[in-house]
Amino acid sequence: MDGWAGQRLRVDLTKGKITKEPLTLEYRKKWIGGRGFNSDVIYNEVPPEMSPFDPRTRVCFGVGPMNGTAAPSTGRVTVTCKSPLTGGFGDSSMGGHWGAEVKYAGYDQIIIQGKAKNPVYIWIDDDKVEIRDASHLWGKFPRDADTMIKEELKDEDIHIMLIGPAGENMVRFACTFNDVWRAAGRTGHGAVIGSKNLKGIATRGSGGVKIARPKEFMEVCNKLRQKFKNDPMKIGLYELGSLCLINFANKDGWLPWKNLQYGGTPLANNMSGETHSQTVLKHREGCYACPICCGRFTEIKEGRWAGEHFGGPEYEHAVPTGPRVGIIEDANDIWHNARLTNDLGMDGIETGAVISSAMEWYQRGLITTKDTGGMELEWGDEDVVDQLIQDIAYRRGFGNVLAEGASRASDKLGLGDDGQYYTIATRGMALPGDDPRGLGFGYGLSFAMGTRGGCDHLRSLCCLELSGALYPGLNTKYLGDERPQKPTTTAGKPYMVYYEENQKAVVDCLNVCCFTTHWSYAVLTQDQLDYFNACTGLDMTLDEFLEVGERVHNLERAYWALLMSGAREDRVPERFTNEPMPQHVDYQTNVGATLPIGEMLPKYYKYRDYEAGTGFPSERKLKQLGLGYVAEDIKPLRKKYMSETEKKKKKYYY
């Protein structure tokens, strides 16, 4: 078996049953691994009407053929489930070293189903798998549970996936970590894991990965590592982490300020990568086989939070509980808030998003202190943000309402469409820290079309418009046109998003970090194919390779169709279409911009071969991708979706 381990592990926590299932070559060629394996399981084993907290639901951890090899940045793991935040398809990805360890233990995927009677953790020691008591770990932060498990198993070198208290309390946007700090942040799978009474999965693997054509494989890997040496994105990410984006975001008007009422703040530099590295950076860290090492480790040295330390933060982690809630004057407050969401085990993006939505509801008089339990939700009040983060994690008071996510919280508070306007979400998942009125119209289109709930920067990760300027000629190479490089143009964006979505999907199947394949473009699509073929011994062509990505994307889209989610829900928050970007600094580049989503959608649908009325993938497209059974599932739903009854329903989540 080359590349893959060739089997997956299924753990039924209700029955206490552990099984190993072989993965045929045909299956592996069809889905490759990671996101592909996981999406297939969710589609086939989790009916769309099932509650995400039903014990019968599945949570999948997908690795793939490249995990555990020398290919750059191939250490990621995809986590997939039916999302408790959106009610639809949901996945997330994390770096670290756990993915390689799972592979060394002999598995390409782990599927968890059922529910344990009491808190447990799973211990995978190569082919020996046990379900162990975790009652002593329940309630612990991931950093503490990690230490305790390593002491219990007497091995400092094992790698562990864990949830925090927020997952145990089924906060709808709880997340998972491995190696304590590497998070799979989005879509709320931490809550699903917590609903199963599962604290984590500890893993030790003593095997290796067999490479089909090792000389060829190492030539490709070494060539890529050379490319990274002088890569501009790599240098920036190593030096400053993803916080290197702060000042760019501020200039181009995509740094969320006060729930995206503005695209930045004059004080943005307080939290820039430059400032972070000069004041609180303790050391840099890298994930498995990564030449970039963008990871930060932060230690707060002074002020109210002096002595706190943690892994991180990323841009997307720091911004939501920083400028998005109006905090910028003291960056230590921002680092503290990021530390809190880490320790409590919550998606930093969704945490900041729900608090900032609540602040805007309060600002506009939609809620009062009667709703908040007496709290005055003033922008920039760190005491309020600190308290709310904890109250959300432990589901206390007003925090218990916000723990449902902004869209559900708005409904619980009876705020109607007015409340939903300020949730800045699509299909129930909040936008991350990137305003498409500045970051780019391609991003905006991908937010509307994202298959894990929309409003997501990672579904296409249109870095041809983010990084394109650093790589002259790259837009022409793939798209035939340099115009899409400009963020605030619609030119070429429908094709850009189509191309990048497929590309990103296959990258997720390989579990390669997108910082090496989309941000930096040091690893081009052809390079990915070359190392994949050398590793597995297959000789896939480029179109077959990218077709896997298109297949995965369409399967996920079809899952949303089963939930009656289609063209009417392909939208962005109205703030982006209705409100011209106001000015916050005099050097800002996108003053007055709005997102012309309507100009891009029809053409994008044509690229995707989605039906104009429903937005469902066409029968022709699904059959072309070998998904004829999916076409049959959707067929009876087309008429229903177009019925007057369905048209009247407002679906903010599912």
């Binding site: 190479k477 798209l479 035939g480 619609t490 699509t525 179109d543 891009m600 072309q624």
Partner: protein, 80 residues
Amino acid sequence: MAVMNKQQAKKLAEMNDFFLDLLNLLKEKRVISNKEHRTFLLTGYEKLVEHLGKKKIISPVDAKKAMKSGFTSLVSSLSK
């Protein structure tokens, strides 16, 4: 080899998002097959230009220019 007239070339060159329309036109003119249409939709512009150069639909010089300058150069070559 002219596979489109000047008017078609001008229309394509002025489009906001041209790639699918270009592939559709090339398929309609039987310059590329159904399978090739699908392949280039997935793999992108550079692979299309390589193919058109190999098949001598455009000259090597025009293929090189199209790689460098993008689609307006390509459609100009296809309408010569």
